[in-house]
């Protein structure tokens, strides 16, 4: 047995063990912590599968952002958790749920094991057509040229999620500031970290965004890092969340998808198909879409974590 195989097997076993533990553990908060670790381990597995793009996204979105969302949710339900436990479903329901989950997993496993060898793939087609997009990273080419529709819908889905979060706002504070007011301690260790880390983090985020055209990286991963830096500054009390009634905020939130849709429909006229790019203009148009999507994604992801407005709007 080679060393690499040993690492792979222990990673797989570890992921399975963490997944089992997340299901078995009683405390919601502990389950969330387990979920974050699970996301990071999955990221490592994607690295082992030579898919650094997926690994970055899994670590940033799956582990980091979703983890932050779930920690917020766990903190919210903590007060009512014991009361909710009284309404725990009975053994029959839980057994049925377990059978359903195991069946789904088994069907998925069968589907994957039954794939012909070699598995059907479009990778050679992508590699052959990569040059027409002038983008160096095949993943970016798939996301923004060959399957641009998926990415467009993804960008709209996160926006819809934010609207869903905002719709939970009590009427009284509609248009107000999301999240609680953070205590300001200008000499505190968190404020110090925010001052030191935010400039570096912004550069790293922009770098990962920009490098996505040619190497693993891209707007989602970069936007998550930028959103995290913004949330760090907000969490340290050095800045406040913008009131959701701000016009500039709403314009930026819809700019990304609108630019994407506009360029997509322009493709119907100039290139003969919706979301197609005219010859020779693929790279600049892809970059334009990415740049337009970037602020939208940063704001959406950060405001998703910040939550529904809790404080009165400015007079």
């Amino acid at each position: 047995m080679t060393l690499a195989l040993a690492v792979d097997i222990s990673l797989a076993l570890l992921v399975l063990a963490v997944a089992g533990w997340i299901i078995a553990v009683r405390d919601t908060f502990a389950a969330v912590v387990g979920f974050v670790a699970y996301g990071l381990l999955l990221g490592l597995i994607w690295v082992r599968l030579a898919a650094p793009d997926v690994a970055l996204t899994e670590a940033a979105i799956g582990g980091g952002l979703t983890g932050a969302l779930l920690i917020g949710a766990a903190a919210r339900v903590r007060k009512t958790e014991t009361a909710a436990r009284a309404e725990y479903p009975g053994t029959l329901i839980r057994t049925l749920a377990a059978i359903l989950a195991v069946t789904v997993a088994a069907v998925l496993a069968l589907g994957i094991l039954a794939l012909p060898d070699p598995a059907p793939t479009l990778a050679p087609a992508v590699a052959a057509s990569l040059a027409t997009t002038e983008v160096g990273n095949p993943v970016t080419a798939v996301l923004l040229a060959f399957r641009a529709m998926d990415t467009l819908l993804e960008a709209i889905v996160v926006l819809l999620a934010l609207i869903g979060v905002w719709s939970l706002t009590p009427d009284r504070v509609w248009g107000g500031y999301p999240g609680p007011r953070r205590p300001v301690d200008p000499d505190g260790v968190l404020a110090w970290l925010a001052r030191l880390l935010a400039p570096i983090g912004i550069i790293v985020g922009l770098y990962i965004f920009w490098i996505g055209a040619d190497l693993p990286g891209g707007k989602f991963q970069g936007a998550t890092i930028l959103a995290a830096m913004w949330l760090l500054v907000i969490g340290a009390g050095l800045a406040d969340t913008p009131p959701v009634s701000r016009i500039w905020l709403r314009i930026l939130l819809v700019t990304g998808p609108l630019v994407f849709i506009a360029i997509g429909f322009a493709g119907a006229i100039t290139a003969g198909a919706v979301l197609a790019y005219p010859e020779g203009y693929a790279k600049p148009l892809i970059v334009a879409i990415e740049i337009a999507l970037m602020p939208t994604l940063v704001l959406t992801l950060a405001l998703l974590v910040a939550g529904a407005p809790q404080r009165l709007p400015p007079q």
Partner: protein, 97 residues
């Protein structure tokens, strides 16, 4: 020469792994939050530091080497800050265990 460097890598990474192991044992065995934090930060600082130091001769000079050192510095920064915050919360008597 490369044999010496490889030996250095193996020894340093093993030493780093030892500190991670010791940190994990401390995390599981130490009695209270502050002592557990103490064990954990040792793993971050020394363990990761030794692993990075061991990997430096294997990394491509200069970019990859600088990235490795930067990763260690960021882990130091994050570990020290979060350790402070958790210790402060623990001293205020909220549950952190």
């Amino acid at each position: 020469m490369s044999l010496v460097l490889d030996m250095f890598t193996i020894i340093a990474v093993l030493a780093g792994a030892f500190f991670f192991l010791a940190g994990t044992v401390g995390l599981l065995r130490f009695p209270d939050t502050l002592a557990r934090l103490h064990a954990l930060t040792k793993a971050d600082n020394l363990g990761l530091g030794l692993v990075v130091m061991g990997l430096l001769p294997q990394a491509e000079w200069p970019l990859d080497a600088f990235k490795l050192i930067a990763i260690w510095l960021f882990a130091l920064l994050a570990g020290a800050t979060v350790g402070q915050l958790m210790a402060r919360t623990a001293r205020r008597g909220r549950t952190t265990s």
